[in-house]
Subunit: 143 residues, 2 copies
Amino acid sequence: MTLRDRLAAANLKATHQRMTILAALDDCKIHPSPEKVYEMIKPGNPTISLATVYNTLESFARAGLVNKVASISGNMRYDANIGAHGHIYCHNTDEIIDYYDEDLNMLIIDFFKKKKIGNLKIKNITLNINGDKLDRNKEVTIK
Amino acid sequence: MTLRDRLAAANLKATHQRMTILAALDDCKIHPSPEKVYEMIKPGNPTISLATVYNTLESFARAGLVNKVASISGNMRYDANIGAHGHIYCHNTDEIIDYYDEDLNMLIIDFFKKKKIGNLKIKNITLNINGDKLDRNKEVTIK
DNA sequence: GTGTTTGCAAAAGCTTTGCAAAGTT
DNA sequence: AACTTTGCAAAGCTTTTGCAAACAC
């Protein structure tokens, strides 16, 4: 599905800024802040405004095109991956890393087939792992 | 364990402000923001400063006495419950509700006995359920 | 008494808003 | 042509900071 089509499906007009921002988010695996997205696209779009990045990300989130992720570091982060997955928060490096495990996903789905939550329209369920990187220069490994 | 002892154990001097703030958090199940804590204790402590509430909550979180919880609504929230538990975020009411289920807890503990995460010192693992309340005037029910 | 903590006010982030100009369909 | 979106600057939040006075041990 093209950027254009995804915007159309979300009822958003296909402006150059929106396509640039959505493409940047698709490419960016680090759950960037609006400021970070701005830095990423500024070189190729020198006239873009930071406020537009903020507003655009917010409208994407409202439309369900991306997920807004709250972070302990005090700014919002955006995630182009809208499938079911969890996050690893490294507090000492301010990184947010995707965590997906098929078995865990099944476990959670099965669990909530039995336990029902009433009076709530569930958007998503995510497992959050909070911690500190031991060696800041190395990756977090999942095995 | 008394408020005094908990502060001592965290290496924090037992000031009147700290005991008031810790007691308020203990009593408050709604994961209050610093502003909200300030409103709660202000009547009985008219000279307390909002900055002190911010700084105190932050030092409690650093000491592991409470948990800092990031929220989509743009402010931080604090949680006196430091045991393993999850959260239900109602985006339309800005409520954060505790979610604890014995079975789910076991499931998650067992799961992470098998799947290891390397180069990360895990602080806690929480399951977050994001959604909107259907009837804003009624409680979310868990069964 | 020594060192830490508080209150105040000011400053520093992060995010939203108002409005004219530009863009989209 | 009608309506929406953008850029800019200003305003509005939340949170942190500097420093003298007050407090804890």
